[in-house]
Symmetry: C2
Subunit: 485 residues, 2 copies
């Protein structure tokens, strides 16, 4: 694919479109290390804004950041049987350090429950030390066979929260609190509607009591698990002897939760909002919200237009609703080439500013999402930009939600129709499930669809399904099925 070629369309080949978009818009690049990517400034800038938004929300609930070692002694992983069974096939192992073979190999963290709860056991003595609410922003490594930029990489960046509580109820409440924060982040910041709910036993985190997740629908109608929150019960506390003195004077194991969102979200953003021209970044996550493209022919025009452009940047960056503005003053590049470039990168608003606009004290404001164009008096630009950015954020969410709803299927359904949907355009299929591993496994094998979640009440169908879509026996629960990344 040459630089000047258009993207493959989503309809022609969604996977090719995705890869081309990520590479051409310089979100990320392949690295010389198999399965590891380089996150380029355009992609990292979005991740930084995601981090800031979530970090602020965590801290509001009393969570504090810390940092735990990258390496975990292999024996630690083995202390929780289901945990090691889940992660053993995916480990990267350091066997040589400082030129010598290590007595005990060190695992590069695939997740940090084991080392973190070992430390918690050292820090927690009494109920007064609880709850302990800790988060870390770090890298993690899982040896994946098939990798995709952002979506599934051997190394990824994420936050992993780990908490300890005095009661089962508090643990469950924390798990749900964080799931709510994730949902709010995805809806209000990433403009990505999600369905929340519990995972089935076969899909839950290795070592968890219960796993909750947020599932978004991508534009190919496949699901993306965008964030998970695990109620770990006392499984890890028992494995790592994380006990505390209760208020009554007894001793009890603590109740843990863990939860994470990763750079995968950047991929989710692309697949939720990108179009055949390029990326569309929701304003709240856009490192640049408005780009000013100065237009001039003669040199004396250049100075004048640039001067106004910089004044605009300065004005808009102040005040109660500051706007992040970039002035594209690159030379040897036509305005048209700049438009193309910024549309590819998904900057929400563009202001075209030429000598004739200046005569009228206006600029041409162009929305990236709808590509709607209109002249705006410069005197009103600050207010108009702020309002338009809010409108874009809102419209991007409703557009994504409407498209998700249009590809969601509820109500009585035969297995034949279920397969028709899943094998065809795909989507989210809500159907009854008898609750047996057998039916879940057969459906997965025959259709490649999995239970994404057992939806939370607000996502359940008004009429609860009565029978299992596979075996026809009584349904014990409603399940939301889809093919997934």
């Amino acid at each position: 694919m040459a630089d000047d070629q258009k993207l493959t369309t989503r309809e022609a080949d969604f996977g090719a479109w995705y890869n081309e978009l990520v590479l051409k818009s310089e979100l990320a690049d392949y690295s010389p290390v198999r399965g590891c990517m380089v996150i380029r400034p355009n992609g990292y800038g979005i991740w930084e804004r995601m981090q800031r938004a979530m970090d602020d929300m965590f801290k509001e609930t009393g969570v504090q950041n810390a940092y735990f070692p990258l390496f975990i002694p292999e024996s630690y992983l083995h202390k929780e049987a289901r945990h090691v069974a889940g992660f053993a096939p995916e480990l990267a192992v350091v066997t040589i350090g400082g030129g010598k073979v290590l007595e005990e190999p060190l695992v590069v963290r695939p997740t940090s429950e084991t080392i973190i709860y070992a430390m918690f056991a050292k820090w927690v003595q009494s109920y007064r030390d609880l709850p302990l609410l800790i988060n870390q922003w770090c890298n993690a490594v899982r040896w994946e066979m098939r990798t995709r930029l952002f979506l599934r990489t051997m190394e990824f960046l994420w936050q992993e929260g780990h908490t300890a509580h005095a009661t089962a109820e508090e643990g469950e409440a924390e798990t749900r609190l964080i799931l709510g924060i994730y949902r709010r982040f995805m809806e209000e910041w990433a403009a990505m509607p999600v369905v929340t709910g519990r995972k089935s036993e076969s899909e839950k985190f290795a070592g968890a009591l219960r796993t909750y997740a947020c599932e978004g629908m991508m534009q190919d109608n496949k699901a993306l698990q965008a964030g998970t929150s695990h109620n770990l019960g006392q499984n890890f506390a028992k494995a790592f002897d994380l006990k505390f003195q209760t208020e009554a004077g007894g001793t009890e194991f603590a109740w843990n939760t863990s939860w994470g969102v990763s750079t995968r979200m950047v991929g989710g953003l692309v697949m939720t909002h990108g179009d055949d021209i390029g990326l569309r970044v929701p304003p709240k996550l856009a490192p640049t919200e408005l780009v000013v493209v100065p237009i001039y022919r003669a040199e004396e025009q250049r100075a004048q237009v640039l001067s106004v452009a910089h004044q605009i940047r300065s004005d808009l960056s102040k005040g109660a609703s500051p706007v992040r503005v970039h002035v594209d003053a690159r030379e040897n590049m036509t305005p048209g080439a700049k438009y193309y470039d910024w549309e590819l990168r998904g900057v929400p608003l563009r202001l075209e500013l030429g000598p004739r606009d200046l005569e009228k004290a206006q600029g041409i404001l162009v929305r990236r999402d709808s590509r709607e164009k209109r002249p705006v008096p410069l005197a009103e630009l600050s207010r108009t930009a702020t309002e338009t950015l809010a409108a874009i954020q809102h419209d991007m969410y409703t557009t994504a939600r409407d498209r998700r709803d249009a590809h969601s299927y509820r109500g009585p359904i035969t297995y034949a129709r279920f397969r028709e949907i899943i094998d065809g355009d795909g989507g989210f299929v809500y159907a009854g499930w008898c609750g047996t591993d057998a039916c879940e496994a057969v459906i997965k094998e025959e259709t490649k669809a999995t239970i994404r979640v057992l939806p939370d009440p607000e996502f359940q169908s008004p009429d609860a399904p009565r029978t299992c879509v596979k075996c026809g026996n009584d349904a014990t629960v409603e399940a939301m099925w889809a093919k997934a990344y």
Copy 2:
């Protein structure tokens, strides 16, 4: 050391004092992985503020953040001969991935020049792509034999900046620009005076043309290298074929710089400002600048005092100079125990607030640095707190600078006197150097002192030394010597 015991004094045993302070104030803890530490919330909060301050300064100069893989193919390290020679003994090596022995082992990054310049080579075609100014915040691993919390850990957190330029002059200018940012950060934020200058050939970064550093003096009069900025010349560009088309149409190798500051700075902060009671955090880097300790006996007093305390937090967090306030509402803990706790943690200001204070509409404001106490009318608290925090920041810097200057030695000096200082109380000794590796090596062997820097002009002695302190031959340069961490 029991929790209720005092710290070992700095005078009695500086090393023991440091370790006890770091552990008791909960900045960090030992981990089950040899040489790796856990950075606890108190320490990580300081690091987060350090990150924010430096990140803003980098970005102001056009630097963008990105992220490169943790793993580096072993063969990459070998492409720059001096680089691999420097780092080979310190490597952690992944030899197993996904259950299989890897064909090519992967090195856990000790620093990322090799993989980053390999990517730069892919991205840079023309002079128009330059300068390329990239930074990453990440972890790095060096297999150290003797580790110390924060100061020398097997894994550490840092930022590593990497840039590419079209000319040697621009590369040198960038190296110096960043050194200036580091100095500004250390002086203005960390209140840590530093001496800047160039490293000798034997002390420079493996693969660099020139290394510049900031050296601070700790309270045991040893030097701490707190940040380094390397002019890499074309060494890595040649090793990784990082070429560009010049404006004139030719082809040339790019000029690189790299620069880093790590979590070691947190240790430097402790050793610069801590006292026998605990930590003292400069206000600009303090996650909490002012802690309110409510004092009450009866329950109805409690509600009233806490209500005023929370009002103070709310008022002080707003306005032009917001102050980061924490209200310590812990129950079952005496005010005295809270004072002890916050003094140990180094919060710059404490406000004691009791019923009798409220009657007078005042609080008792206590400075952590000087422990000076005075009543302040609550109506003036916002202004007084802001002014006092600025005074503390200023005073901490001047105190550290005066102490550094009192232990700096300039002027004609014999080798006997040089040894007397270094073997005695220590300090920074400015002395002439003939420039030969031989004299440098002998002094290092005999005294354990090393050339910390060949000082920049503003740190050079008014009268340039004429002779080498070791051999007595003509001095080619002034060197600043000290024992170092």
